[in-house]
């Protein structure tokens, strides 16, 4: 197992260099000059432009700029945002816990509902339940996040008043953000009702962000289950007289999980993409909106650094998923 993990870790190195290069190149490949964008309609004199170019280091050859960026990254320095002038590192870690908390809840939500839904659909193949669940999943998968979020807000916050409209916690509560995870911080604050308020604020964004992964997981579970349910060993298990709960729950599901885990791993990327819209609508202070704003402002250090950190996170998640395969199916571990 150790060798397996080490060999997987080694593949990190070329991927990491590739990501650094792409993130550096990507934002520069977009037309538009950050200095001109900064000046807006007012514009600036050529002298002033040259001065600022020098200040930002744009006057040096591009490979020198890349080399400096790379050496900075290896020393843990991602540079300062052009706009806020603060270190990219600080901004990322101030915002990332919010994204992580929301993504985690959305993931739990989609797994907790998606797998049972897929199993139920597979077991009742062709019957009413199957059709109802799979059509719902198709609708969920095709739902535009923006529209879905506003619909939920208008119904549940606006008309019914059951959930707050947006934000992470009621403005009534004010305590230090020790960890950045509102669920933990609100508990730690000891203020009455703070935790409940944080949970209420999580409900709608979790549903919105979890909807697409939920649909994907449900559909994947169903098709994987159907494949497994047709296998010889399931027939054998049935012939042995095992209860259908035991057959479906243990023999079939465990074997059907491999493709489902793969899909869950891949959903992390989808979650981060969905987080951009979800965070914007629910005023959720995470990295999604931060990245989008930075692209529009051509804030090179933030885009580069943010992409790099997100890529590293996705790489770590993929590694974890690969290791999970080993746990679920010992044959993979031995190969």
């Amino acid at each position: 197992m150790l060798n397996y993990v080490l060999s997987r870790l080694l593949t990190f190195i070329p991927t990491f260099i590739g990501v650094t290069l792409i993130s550096f190149g990507f934002i520069r490949a977009l037309p538009g000059d950050p200095i001109v964008v900064m000046a807006g309609e007012r514009g600036m004199t050529p002298e002033r432009y040259a001065e600022l170019s020098a200040q930002f280091g744009f006057d040096r050859p591009i490979f020198v700029q890349f080399w400096e960026y790379l050496t900075g990254v290896l020393q843990g320095d991602l540079g300062n945002s052009f706009v806020t002038k603060r270190p990219v590192w600080d901004e990322f870690f101030a915002l990332f816990p919010a994204t992580l908390e929301l993504s985690f809840c959305a993931m739990i939500f989609s797994i907790a509902l998606g797998i049972p839904a897929g199993v139920i659909a597979a077991v009742n193949r062709g019957k009413f339940f199957d059709r109802a669940l799979m059509s719902t999943a198709l609708v969920g998968y095709s739902m535009p996040i923006f529209w879905w979020a506003l619909l939920l807000i208008i119904i549940f916050s606006g008309n019914l008043g059951w959930t707050p409209v947006s934000g992470r916690i009621s403005l009534m509560y004010y305590f230090p953000n020790a960890t950045g995870f509102m669920l933990i911080d609100s508990l730690a604050s000891g203020q009455k009702g703070a935790f409940a308020s944080a949970v209420q604020h999580l409900i709608l964004p979790t549903i919105v962000l979890g909807t697409i992964p939920l649909a994907v997981i449900a559909r994947q579970t169903r098709s994987a289950m159907l494949e497994v349910l047709g296998e010889d060993y399931i027939r054998t298990a049935r012939a042995k007289g095992l209860t259908s709960g035991r057959i479906n729950g243990i023999h079939a599901l465990r074997n059907a999980l491999i493709p489902v885990v793969t899909v869950i791993g891949l959903s992390v990327g989808t979650l981060l993409a969905g987080a951009i819209l979800t965070e914007t609508i629910f005023s959720w202070p995470g990295i999604g909106k931060w990245m989008v704003d930075s692209i529009f402002r051509r804030d090179y250090p933030v885009v580069q650094g943010g992409l790099l950190l997100i890529a590293v996170m996705v790489m770590v998640v993929n590694l974890t998923v690969d290791m999970l395969y080993g746990l679920i199916n010992p044959k993979i571990r031995k190969r």
């Binding site: 977009l30 037309p31 538009g32 000059d33 950050p34 001109v36 964008v37 900064m38 000046a39 807006g40 309609e41 007012r42 514009g43 600036m44 004199t45 002033r48 600022l52 200040q55 300062n80 052009f82 706009v83 806020t84 002038k85 603060r86 901004e91 101030a94 915002l95 919010a98 506003l150 807000i153 208008i154 916050s157 606006g158 008043g161 707050p164 409209v165 947006s166 934000g167 992470r168 403005l171 009534m172 509560y173 004010y174 305590f175 230090p176 953000n177 604050s189 203020q191 914007t280 609508i281 629910f282 005023s283 959720w284 202070p285 995470g286 909106k289 931060w290 704003d293 051509r298």
Partner: protein, 529 residues
């Protein structure tokens, strides 16, 4: 620390409770500030969160107008030649304090000098702090204008200028001219954390900064030591809410009291909703189509005039602005002093336009219209606007090709003196002075830069140059009024629209005034029971 949080939380709970008196004002703002030192930035969102609640300025704009009032300077004298401005500073003004800093002295001349010196003097230790580029200071030509700043005594500061400049007093009320504490700056420099000046701001304004969480919330408390009229609420909270529809939902649900920038499509519904108050005012901006007056046939004023008459502006207001706009006839907005009411707009008359073009020998004209790729207050949808103009011009036999570039490219390329085509652009005023529109956008100095029409008219330029150095508004206004007449006659632009700014709030909000310069100011806003 925990006591402070408890007190603040308690205050708020009391404020939001139904029975307690309303003391916390919650404003749903549209985005995060870039920082809290206004001189470092240029965005209105940043100024709303920094310059207005936290800081004061030597002069102040009277809220709701562009009139300049005394601020931290109680009074001022301008010398005979207009090149020396002496400010007499207010005494007994206290700076805020925070965990790292408690002021030992009142505001004085050192703070004024420091606030400007750090922006203009490369040797000032704060010049490079926070990657300072001092965009607004440079943008308002302050480095060329200010020769030196002298301290005559603790409460008298003298600005020596290189030329007489009437708008200078209004510049002093601008956000970049916020007065920061030199004592705090020195203390932070010594502690090795100069960036705190930007992150944990200390000012003299009506609110003290309490806390900020990026993209989530900003908290302020009332400054009970404020020298002027104290704030009406005990705390002010910015709930950062980027989506306009969500802001509206929050106002309806009572999660915030006031919101800015509603969706134009929602405004009518808001007006019909009796639990919502909508205020409106023309923005201090103008959206225009600038011809390139150096390229034939657009070098002929009659051709430009004819094209202006072919544009159906009312349709543009209805379609592009969805009612949140007003037809522009002058290059300055109607809320600005010296706006010339008497000027008559070119009437929409495609038939006459066609005749005029024929009379000038213009037939089968092909032209380009540049459409901006971004949404701006003075033009919410340039592409749509260009398409409407394309249809209008087709009716007079002019064939239009619409072009666009990425925003940075667009700004850069549209400056070229040999530019092919007329460009859609606009301007939002900085200091409420007509010079800030007319000289920047239409003066001879701006050709090849911010003067997108590349228009240099001797008569017009003489008028605005003369007006710039006269000391009083009464003397300056007639010259600007005359300049607007010349402008209309020569038609370097088609003036399209001034946007209308809407503010949406709950009925319990009292005393809010829409500010023509675009800022959202809560210093004198209260809440009824």
């Amino acid at each position: 620390m925990s006591l402070k949080y408890t007190i603040a939380g308690g205050l708020l709970m009391a404020a939001m409770g139904a029975s307690a008196s309303a003391q916390s004002l919650v404003y749903c703002s549209e985005g995060s500030p870039e920082g809290f030192d206004p001189a470092l930035y240029t965005a209105g969102t940043t100024f709303d969160a920094s310059s207005h609640p936290i800081y004061d300025h030597l002069t102040e704009f009277k809220v709701g107008t562009t009139e300049v009032l005394p601020g931290l300077a109680e009074s001022w004298e301008v010398s005979e030649d207009g090149k020396t401005v002496t400010f007499n500073l207010r005494k007994g003004v206290k700076f805020h304090s925070n965990d790292q800093f408690t002021p030992t002295r009142d505001f004085n001349a050192d703070d004024v000098i420091f606030s400007f010196d750090r922006q203009g003097n490369d040797d000032n230790p704060y010049n490079q702090v926070s990657g300072g580029t001092w965009e607004y200071y440079a943008g308002m030509s302050m480095p060329e204008l200010v020769e030196s700043i002298e301290k005559k005594d603790d409460y008298t500061v003298v600005f020596n200028l290189t030329r007489p400049e009437a708008p200078f007093l209004a510049n002093m009320a601008m956000d970049f001219a916020s007065i920061v504490s030199k004592e705090y700056a020195d203390a932070m420099l010594e502690a090795g954390t100069p960036e705190m000046l930007n992150q944990a701001p200390i000012g003299t304004g009506p609110f003290t900064f309490q806390a900020y969480q990026k993209d989530a919330v900003i908290r302020y408390l009332r400054n009970d030591d404020y020298w002027g009229d104290k704030a009406k609420v005990e705390s002010l909270i910015f709930a950062i809410t980027p989506d306009a529809s969500v802001r509206y939902q929050k106002v309806q649900a009572g999660e915030c009291h006031v919101m800015a920038y509603p969706n134009p499509a929602d405004v009518q519904e808001m007006k019909d909703n009796e639990n919502i108050v909508v205020m409106e005012q023309e923005g201090l901006n103008v959206g225009y189509l600038a011809y390139n007056t150096k390229v034939a046939p657009f070098d002929n004023p009659k051709v430009r005039k004819a094209l202006n008459m072919a544009i159906d502006k009312q349709t543009i207001i209805d379609v592009v602005f969805q009612g949140s706009g007003q037809i522009a006839k002058n290059p300055i907005p109607p809320t600005m002093w010296s706006y010339n009411q008497a000027v008559e707009d070119d009437a929409y008359d495609p038939e006459k336009a066609k005749e005029m073009l024929a009379a000038e020998g213009v037939e089968n004209l092909d032209m380009k219209i540049w459409a901006m790729p971004v949404q701006r207050p003075y033009n919410p949808n340039a592409r749509r606007m260009a398409e409407l103009m394309q249809e209008d011009f087709a009716k007079v036999g002019v064939n239009v090709e619409i072009v666009s570039y990425e925003w940075g490219e667009y700004l850069e390329r549209s400056k070229a003196e040999d530019r092919d085509g007329a460009v859609l652009l606009g301007w939002t005023g900085d200091n409420g002075d007509p010079d800030n529109f007319l000289a920047v956008l239409l003066g001879c100095d701006g050709v090849g830069a911010s003067n997108r029409a590349q228009w240099c008219n001797e008569e017009f330029d003489d008028l605005i140059q003369k007006a710039k150095i006269l000391p009083t508004q009464e003397e300056r206004a007639p010259l600007y009024e005359q300049a607007q007449v010349v402008f209309k006659d020569q038609a370097p632009w088609a003036t399209i629209a001034h946007s209308v700014v809407h503010m949406t709030m709950r009925p319990e909000v009292e005393g809010y005034v829409v500010h023509p310069l675009g800022g959202h100011i809560f210093n004198q806003v209260g809440l009824s029971q």
